[in-house]
């Protein structure tokens, strides 16, 4: 199968929020980052994919199976903000608890991961630091040969060293051909380092879906002094900010002709894109 995840016209209405008929695909074999501001709909979408929340309408297909087929979870590794384990369990209890549910559980691999991540098999879950919890979650995920990882903010709350280690774990995971990672975050610097594809959601709508490089190569930042901004370029500017000493904004690279040579043009990062897009409520 080509796409690990296929979403078509998915809608879900909550009291104060609407996921409005979104559609996107996640190709298998790569890492796809899911970005958006808090409240944009990331967690909702992921819950819908797992059938933890129930959709109002639309189609969800994960690893070729319908979203509500529970056998799909054999091949799925899920890590939300924190893994869901009983606080008094230690890694050995956790293995005993989840092992019967997975046909492919590899006990040897599990213990190898525990050792690799320096996790004490006898330590209670509640006594672990956040980073350790995430690593434990990864150990569980990696021990049943999951083909797709769904991660919701896996690196938030981790210090830079831990984050780097987590990214390494993800990279190692992807060395096998048929594995995919879908991970939502608002720490765009992590995605800069590792993501192949980006899905960008804003206010319950998909605003971009495609290669990360294409997105960051499409735009650039432009800064100039007062008077350097041609009138006809105003409407092309995204997230324009004018101040006493000049202006600053984002624009498509193809539109950079026509500016005076004194302006400074720089490449964008995902963070720049997110910031500029939300500035005036713009859309791409």
């Amino acid at each position: 199968m080509n796409n690990a995840i296929e979403i078509k016209n998915l809608s879900k209405r909550y009291k104060n929020f609407l996921l409005d008929g979104i559609s996107f695909s996640v190709p298998s074999g790569y890492i796809c980052g899911f970005i958006g501001q808090n409240g944009a709909g990331k967690t909702t979408t992921m819950k819908l994919m797992l059938n933890m929340a129930l959709k109002d309408s639309g189609e969800i297909e994960v690893l070729g199976k319908s979203g509500d087929d529970e056998s799909l979870k054999e091949e799925l590794g899920v890590l939300f903000d924190q893994p869901y384990f009983q606080e008094d369990w230690n890694p050995i209890d956790i293995e005993r608890a989840v092992k019967p549910f997975y046909r492919q559980w590899d006990s040897k691999a599990y213990h190898q991961y525990l050792a690799k991540f320096s996790l004490d098999p006898k330590q209670k879950f509640k006594a672990m630091s956040r980073g350790m919890k995430m690593k434990l979650g990864m150990a569980v995920t990696l021990s049943h040969d999951a083909k797709l990882l769904l991660l919701d903010e896996p690196t938030s709350g981790l210090d830079p060293v831990m984050r780097d280690e987590m990214l390494d774990v993800f990279r190692d995971y992807l060395v096998e051909e048929d594995r995919t990672i879908f991970f939502s975050t608002h720490i765009t610097s992590d995605l800069e380092k590792i993501a192949d594809y980006i899905i960008y959601i804003q206010d319950g709508r998909i605003v971009y879906s495609g290669l990360k490089d294409e997105l960051t190569e499409k735009y650039c930042l432009i800064r100039g002094g007062e008077g350097d901004l041609p009138q006809d370029k105003r409407k092309s500017m995204i997230g324009l900010r004018e101040h006493t000493a000049g202006f600053e904004g984002m624009i498509e690279v193809t539109e950079t002709g026509g500016f005076p040579p004194e302006v400074v043009i720089e490449t964008v990062t995902l963070e720049d894109i997110m910031v500029h897009m939300s500035r005036n409520g713009e859309t791409l």
Binding site: K47, L50, N51, M52, A53, L54, E70, S71, L72, K73, E74, L76, V78, F80, Y84, F85, Q86, E87, D88, W89, D93, R96, A97, V98, P100, F101, Y102
Partner: protein
């Protein structure tokens, strides 16, 4: 699969497991000091309360989400919990039956009744259990522990309180002094019939409770 769910729920209750042996001790003391009559029903009710623990721990550790990330159907989660509850019902019965003679030996107010009365008390316990279950489980499956506590726990207590109060009230009206005695007399003549009826009703209520629970849990958003 149900076996796996039971095991999972039981493991989730790790903290509470240690408290289980306290139940029989408590019931023993109660029976000793108060009345042996209620030993069996009490055991059963305590065991029912114990079977609510999975709901409590589930919410605390967000385990209900763990269940949804495992390859398990929602229906199976419900079935597992009911099965665990039934196992605990059985344990409660056995506990009660085992404690009763002991209590009778030392009790301050003894109780000598025939075997059929034993069966009736057990049947009554089953019915009691089923009624509580019907009140509690669907509500807890729908609302979770925090919100469900009120509707699923206080409400049935209130219901019983009202029923009991109502019955007492009616008994106190003129002409009704013998109501309770009449009832007991009728019952003693048709014990097996009454027992059978109570168990059948209890079974029916349990089935209803299960059906409602499956329905509400399947529709729940997390």
């Amino acid at each position: 699969m149900i076996r796996k769910m039971i095991a999972l729920d039981w493991r989730a209750m790790k903290v509470y497991q240690i408290r289980f042996p306290i139940l029989p001790v408590f019931v023993f003391v109660f029976g000793w000091l108060y009345t042996p009559l209620l030993v069996i029903p009490l055991c059963v009710i305590f065991c029912l309360s114990f079977s609510i623990n999975p709901f409590a721990v589930e919410e605390k550790g967000e385990l209900n989400k763990l269940y949804l990330t495992l390859p398990v159907k929602r229906k199976e989660v419900v079935a597992g919990r009911f099965a665990l509850s039934l196992i605990l019902l059985f344990c409660g019965m056995v506990m009660g039956i085992a404690i009763l003679p002991l209590v009778n030996l030392v009790a301050l107010s003894k109780w000598y009744l025939s075997l059929e009365w034993y069966l009736t008390i057990m049947a009554l316990s089953v019915l009691l259990y089923a009624v509580f279950n019907l009140f509690m489980f669907p509500v807890l499956f729908r609302l979770g522990y925090q919100k469900g506590k009120f509707w699923g726990f206080y409400l049935p207590i209130g219901f019983f309180g009202i029923m009991f109060g109502g019955f007492s009230g009616i008994s106190m009206l003129p002409g009704n002094e013998r109501l309770a005695l009449n009832f007991l007399e009728y019952a003693s003549k048709n014990l097996l019939f009454i027992s059978g009826g109570m168990v059948a009703l209890g079974a029916g209520l349990l089935v209803l409770s299960y059906a409602i629970s499956v329905k509400v849990y399947s529709k729940r958003d997390f």
